[in-house]
């Protein structure tokens, strides 16, 4: 587990989501990356059904194929829990207190590439089987301190993302020890959650639904 940066890549002008993803794959292969399997990150949303009149708290339960035996649960802006896969079984026991908003499940699936010490995952983000956007996750495996490797990661991302290179993820700057606190899987999932929530709010391109 190294330092990860998750960002959104806009769909290229005049191209479809799949075509943009293919373009990214081509650039990565030209750089010398090797395809190594596939990945999937998903997020389910639960509403707390307890309090009437109060805004319902949203609980996000996420899975990452990179850590298949774990389950990460987050409250946006609140505490997060890393638990084993049985946490899903526990959530189904809590059905009467926490309802699963089935239509809100978001997932990002795609190919996993390795380039030396970097792992790059280009995924198509889908919600209810409709593609909403593209996520790119870059992980620099040897280092766990963002402050020590951010410049290197940014330079690497420029080589295939061009102008879509993101800024330093806010999740690292927001910690009390700042950029020198060790990164962990919760930071990765927080970034995916921010991306998923942003894409969830976007209207489906071409639809007239308001």
């Amino acid at each position: 587990m190294g330092v990860t940066c998750v960002c959104q890549v806009p769909v290229a002008e005049g191209k479809s989501v799949q075509q943009t993803v293919d373009m990214l794959h081509k650039k990565l292969e030209q750089l010398g990356s090797v395809k190594q399997g596939s990945f999937c990150v998903d997020c389910e949303t639960y509403h707390a059904t307890g309090n009437v009149g109060q805004p319902s708290k949203l609980l996000y339960v996420m899975h990452n194929s990179e850590t298949p035996l774990s389950c990460m649960s987050l409250f946006e802006g609140g505490p997060c829990l890393v638990a084993d896969a049985n946490f899903d079984a526990l959530m189904s026991k809590l059905k009467s207190h926490f309802q699963n908003a089935k239509g809100h499940k978001v997932e990002s699936r795609g190919s996993r590439y390795r380039y030396c010490d970097f792992l790059i995952k280009v995924g198509t983000v889908t919600m209810s089987s409709s593609a909403r956007g593209i996520s790119v996750e870059v992980e620099y495996c040897p280092c766990v301190v963002p402050g020590d490797c951010w410049n290197l990661m940014k330079e690497f991302m420029q080589s295939f993302l061009g102008t879509s290179v993101p800024e330093l993820p806010s999740v690292f700057a927001a910690k009390p020890e700042g950029l020198f606190a060790a990164a962990d899987c919760v930071d990765t999932m927080t970034q995916y959650l921010e991306l998923f929530n942003k894409l969830r709010k976007l209207q489906i391109p071409g639809s007239n639904v308001r």
């Binding site: 190594q36 399997g37 596939s38 990945f39 999937c40 998903d42 389910e44 707390a48 059904t49 307890g50 009437v52 708290k57 609980l59 899975h63 194929s65 990179e66 850590t67 298949p68 649960s73 409250f75 609140g78 505490p79 997060c80 829990l81 890393v82 638990a83 084993d84 896969a85 049985n86 946490f87 899903d88 079984a89 526990l90 959530m91 189904s92 026991k93 809590l94 009467s96 207190h97 926490f98 997932e107 996993r112 390795r114 792992l119 495996c141």
Partner: protein, 209 residues
């Protein structure tokens, strides 16, 4: 760095339903040594294992029905080990000839942020205690001999007071639903511990006031 396997259908909530089969009893402090000696002889040969755990019981009050209970347990002797979160269902009613108490059980290992996370979910801590003692294994069976202590100041596990002059003894097995033969194995093991201790099926709902 090989890619971990990716299942096409995500595995959510479809885990095998595990059931806990339980027999309980108690021995007075004076009889502890004889019991430990008997258990060392009957159980699997291994280094004697002692434990000191801090357990917190959380309740989530819903709009109707009984509150949802979750038990969060951490080891005081291994502070960096994960928390153990446990859900225990209602005891299965029915076959009175069944020798052990059977209830649905979900065990989850969780990170150090568990208490804060449970509070955020709406759970409130109802009570906490410290349990310390010995643990033995025989095949799939687990025998736990523990002294339960009351915590005098909330959150302070140093300052505890023993609740009784005896040790609680629990014989349990975790098995998938439907394997009723395990209660036979438990009954025959319990026979071997008589008359030192009588392990019985004790229905927790009958203990409520």
């Amino acid at each position: 760095m090989e890619a971990p396997p990716v299942t096409v259908m995500p595995v959510t909530g479809g885990a095998i339903n595990m059931m806990e089969y339980l027999l309980q009893g108690s021995v007075l402090d004076q009889a502890l040594e004889s019991l430990l000696h008997r258990l060392r002889g009957l159980c699997d040969n291994m280094e004697p294992e002692t434990f000191t755990d801090h357990e917190l019981v959380y309740l989530l009050k819903g709009q109707q029905g009984n509150p949802f209970i979750l038990r969060a347990r951490r080891s005081l002797s291994h502070p960096n080990a994960p928390w153990h979160l446990r859900y225990l269902g209602q005891p299965e009613v029915g076959d009175k000839s069944r020798h052990a108490l059977v209830r649905n059980c979900v065990d989850v290992a969780a990170s150090q942020s568990l208490p804060d996370f449970l509070n955020e979910m709406g759970f409130r801590m109802d009570h906490e205690f410290v349990a310390s003692g010995h643990i033995f294994r025989k095949g799939a069976m687990k025998v736990v001999v523990s002294k339960v202590s009351r915590i005098l100041v909330p959150g302070n596990t140093e300052n505890t007071e023993r609740m009784s002059l005896s040790y609680l003894v629990e014989l349990s097995i975790l098995a998938p639903a439907g394997q009723d033969t395990v209660s036979e194995d438990m009954r025959s093991f319990a026979e071997q511990l008589k008359p030192l201790i009588h392990l019985e099926k004790i229905d927790p709902s009958k203990q409520r006031h």
